[in-house]
């Protein structure tokens, strides 16, 4: 297969990582290697480049970098991905959240906003819309534009609606959308409760104090040492007794942070900050 000849070696991968760090200031050196290598190989395949073309473009073409960033970071997401998680959130976390005066939620690594809007819908359904606010952040400006628009293809929304049915929430997901031809737009009343902006989990610091942080299926791309650094950022960004939700297959591996977060739901990896 000639595709195989276009795949890069581990040494070439390190070269790309160094180059991106030096020229563009994005540090992928603690990303999970196998997954990141696959993403870079995918860029080569999609853009029909070889390793030397890629290096050349990364050095000389500023516009190319945004493209590269969009392709190497995984932006696949769903509304109400893992319905069992949203069930657990309603059952184990929302009653606690409702006791706060203001509920600030951070959807970290929000991509095109599906999870942030899922949380907005959940808060609305729980009668907490008026005192909640959702911040969505990502390193990728292209997907953030999509998130701000809140427009999704009807085909995707139909598949999200199947997830929604399994969450046990009332009504239907499409109640929250206005549909025009083959696109569905999130209702304005939900959008007014959200704000999307650029934030880099690896290099930026805490920017607010949250009652709930959802960072699901982001840690899978990070090696454990980097996970620990981001856990530190989340710990500093949570209010006392605030909640942290990781993906259904992501757990806190760090012994240091196992002592600082108490599991609330072991199966869904929902944690609560312990004050020390």
């Amino acid at each position: 297969m000639d595709e195989a000849s276009k795949t890069i070696t581990n040494e070439q991968l390190s070269e790309i990582i160094d180059l991106v760090k030096q020229i563009h200031g994005f540090d992928f050196s603690d990303y999970s290697k196998a997954s990141f290598k696959r993403r870079v190989n995918r860029v080569l395949m999609v853009k029909k480049l070889d390793f030397h073309d890629l290096k050349h473009l990364l050095v000389n073409d500023q516009g190319f970098f945004q493209d590269f960033l969009e392709e190497v970071t995984v932006n696949v997401t769903e509304m109400f991905r893992d319905p069992a998680f949203f069930k657990a959130l309603c059952h184990d976390v929302v009653p606690y959240l409702s006791t706060w005066q203001h509920i600030k939620i951070w959807s970290a690594g929000c991509s095109s906003g599906e999870e942030a809007y899922s949380l907005a819908i959940l808060m609305n359904q729980s009668g907490l819309k008026n005192k909640s606010f959702i911040y969505g952040t990502d390193i990728n400006t292209i997907v953030l534009k999509e998130a701000k628009k809140g427009i999704y293809s009807l085909r995707n929304v139909k598949s999200y609606a199947e997830n929604y049915l399994l969450t046990g929430l009332k009504g239907s997901l499409t109640d929250n959308f206005t549909t025009l031809y083959d696109a569905a737009t999130v209702h304005n009343e939900l959008k007014t409760n959200t704000l999307f902006s650029v934030h880099n989990l690896i290099s930026d610091t805490a920017f607010n104090e949250f009652q709930l942080i959802c960072c699901r299926n982001v840690f899978i791309y990070f090696e454990t040492a980097l996970q620990e650094r981001v856990l530190d950022l989340f710990y500093k960004s949570l209010s006392p007794h605030g909640f942290l939700c990781l993906g259904s297959k992501e757990t806190i591996r760090s012994d240091k942070f196992k002592k600082k977060f108490k599991p609330v739901n072991v199966k869904e990896n929902i944690y609560q900050k312990i004050e020390s």
Binding site: A34, R38, V74, V76, N163, T224, Q227, K249, T251
Partner: protein, 195 residues
């Protein structure tokens, strides 16, 4: 298959046994899991096409039947010999050089997440010649690319005989790609697993 010394030698040298399968593979895997001996000295990784949001009982059924500990993979789980790992639904499973599993939620391949290709390709990078891969029945060509990468890396690649597979497309695609060292019937596969 009897007396094929090279096959047995390569199998014994393997540090990992990779299974790929889709429709029609369940029964074979169910039996395979039950006959794998406790002193296997390899990690076993099973990538089966499965639906998301489908609370499947696969892990429970398999572990009742297995003499090796069995678990559904979580991100950064350590890969240890004499254990069976099952790729979770709605994620791709990759093997990292540092001996850990990594998960990924990127695009489905051949409409499948987990994709057999993704796991097999990453395994080729890590294990090179010290892997055995067995591709079973299925209705699409997932696995062929991964098998080819494994074969090129020196791994032992085996396809279930398409003539006896419930759905032949999957093993056939790998065979046609020139990715397969041995075509075996299920009873020969079972015999190998115990040798």
């Amino acid at each position: 298959m009897k007396a094929d010394k090279s096959l047995i030698d390569r199998w014994r040298r393997s540090e990992v046994l990779l299974f790929g399968g889709s429709a029609g593979a369940f029964k074979i895997l169910f039996k395979a899991v039950s006959i794998l001996p406790p002193g296997l000295n390899k990690a076993v990784v099973i990538v089966m096409h499965r639906k998301k949001n489908h609370q499947s009982e696969i892990e429970k059924m398999f572990s009742l039947n297995s003499r090796l500990p069995l678990k559904e993979i979580s991100d950064k789980d350590k890969i240890t010999p004499n254990a069976i790992y099952i790729a979770p639904a709605n994620y791709h499973t990759l093997i990292e050089k540092n001996g850990l599993f990594g998960l990924d939620v990127s695009e489905a391949m051949w409409y499948s997440k987990p994709s057999i290709d993704v796991t097999f390709e990453s395994a080729a990078d890590v294990y090179e010649g010290k892997a055995t891969a067995i591709l079973l029945s299925g209705a699409n060509p997932d696995g062929a690319r991964g098998m080819l990468r494994l074969k090129q890396a020196g791994a032992l690649t085996i396809a279930q005989n398409p003539e006896e597979a419930e759905l032949p497309e999957m093993p056939l695609a790998a065979i046609n790609a020139g990715a397969v060292d041995y075509i075996l019937n299920t009873d020969e596969i079972f015999e190998l697993l115990q040798s």
